[in-house]
Amino acid sequence: MSGIEERVGSREWRADVLIIGGGPAGTWAAISAAAKGASVVLADKGYCGASGATAPSGTAVWYVEPEGPKRHQSKASRYAMGGYLAETAWMDRVLDQTYSNMQTLADWGYPFPLDSEGTQRRISLQGPEYMRLMRKRAKQAGVRILDHSPALQLLTDQDGRVSGASGISRQKNQDWRVEAGAVVIATGGCAFLSRALGCNVLTGDGHLMAAEAGAQFSGMEFSNAYGLCPAFASVTKSAFYKFATFYHADGRVMEGAGSARGRSVIAKALQSEAVYARLDKADADARAHIRLAQPNFILPFDRLGIDPFSQMFPVTLRLEGTVRGTGGLRIVDDQCATSVPGLYAAGDAATRELICGGFTGGGSHNAAWALSSGFWAGAGAAQFAQGNRLANSTHLRGQGGAGLVDARGQQLDPGKLITAVQDEVFPYQRNWFRHGDELQASLGRLDTLWQQVREAAPASGSEQTLRLREATSMLAVSRWMYRSALERTESRGMHRRTDYAGIDSAQRHRVISGGLDDVWTSHERLGPVDEQLLTGQAA
């Protein structure tokens, strides 16, 4: 392994491993790759430490002690909710790796709370503290961090191996380019600029870049997570709404509405009326705990003089897409390799069906997946890079297509494209509740938009180029989403088809998707249902 080489006078580097994305998955990947002796560059679209869905919030972590029956119960509890699509072996290894990495965080000085018996409680992490620590540890490991440096496209060598990326450094007004023996995509999910907390950097950029290099997706139908949120605010922290009662505007209780299964009632009601909540089931202890567990949950209420425990406030559901959904880049081995040589995926950019099937129900699984998949992808990329040393003479080719290449059509307004995509994916009547006819109609419009992007002249200037690539990424993700949703003619996990209610046992498979001009889907068979887990749940 070799050190980072910098071309003097330009923002060009050569390293063993390039990580794209600096949230939990990206920083774990960087630290893990460096621990294997690799030289590592990490490029974040924003500021590594503040960027992404985790940094501004608190997150639960799927952390379960190995002793006793708890692990079995924990695996069993989500198996049916996820539509029997999780895999026991992956659940086990994520639980093990998460347990180990949380110990590492404790060793690094993360201040876990102590319970009344003086025992550290490690089932949650505070975003600002966690990500500040991860940045610090990455820097100490020798990782070169490029902030405000979104990637625009991947580079491949003559054999099709992914060998770096290029992008722009927004605050330097300069392009950047990193040549690397392997690349980890840790760019998060896609939340379609919905202003869900911390999610506006998550526009599916990594999905598009990976697909341009030939990568595939799995479970993109599990992409319609919506977070409960005060209607005026950005704080999509749904967990505490388990203490809420939901109301019509006139103060009548909304029957059946709830934060978990009752969320469909809210999604339906929001199509025709305002919905209100009041956290009136929280007792004095819970009220105090909420304030300390999630300081920013209470912040919007404090600033507006609303007491959410005694006063009704309007709520909405903001699209969290594949951030809290479970679909993403398809993983083909234990090291989180994609099907493209040299390309690895971690965190919300990758599929999380392996541990929770078609439903998350909370951040805990995603947080555990980020810790674990990041750790494995970084090590895997370091190992791949060891056998894939770039020669100085290697000619690398940019894979970027739509929105980057020269075409003769008119320039597109990225803002208009963003709105057009949002119009297809935000509405509850299209995405929360899905129907074959509506999906077909949306896909027709989205395919037309794709054609327009393909024919459009490139944007002028780096800021507009970035915005157009973000819009193009969202567009690409929406097409894999809806094509996969159309393919699954049943309701399973978070994917709800109003024309196909209920689970069809013949469709217990993964829906694989990919393609750019022509989006395709196929099926991947799964092993038999884990009957032992089902028994565990009944017990």
Binding site: G46, A50, L197, A233
Partner: protein
């Protein structure tokens, strides 16, 4: 959305320019930074957490700008409150050690 940089408190350190994940601020030589791309603000409050001078105020509205009256009333009371709640800053201790999530969330 970000509404205010208190120019009396701001020392021009530009930490907010660096920390903002959506690159909302632009540095201005010898002065407080400018809120250059307010439409890109995602109301994540990270700039407040990172500002060492408690000079920034983010109104809680995600989809609209606050009115002048709202900015005045709210910022007077709440400037620096979130940074204090997180326990960042001189003489403070991170409140991550007070995290009561384990009292609220079940095994899952």
């Amino acid at each position: 959305m970000i509404e205010l940089i208190d120019t009396e408190r701001c020392t021009g350190c530009n930490i907010c320019v660096l920390a903002c994940p959506t690159n909302v601020f632009a540095p201005v030589a010898g002065q407080a930074p400018q809120i250059a791309r307010k439409d890109d603000c995602q109301t994540c409050f990270m700039c407040e957490v990172y500002c060492p001078e408690d000079a920034l105020f983010v109104a809680p509205y995600a989809d609209r700008a606050a009115t002048a009256a709202e900015i005045t009333t709210q910022s007077q009371q709440w400037l620096g409150s979130y940074r204090a709640a997180v326990g960042w800053g001189k003489g403070r201790q991170s409140t991550a050690s007070d995290d009561q999530s384990y009292q609220l969330l079940g095994r899952d």
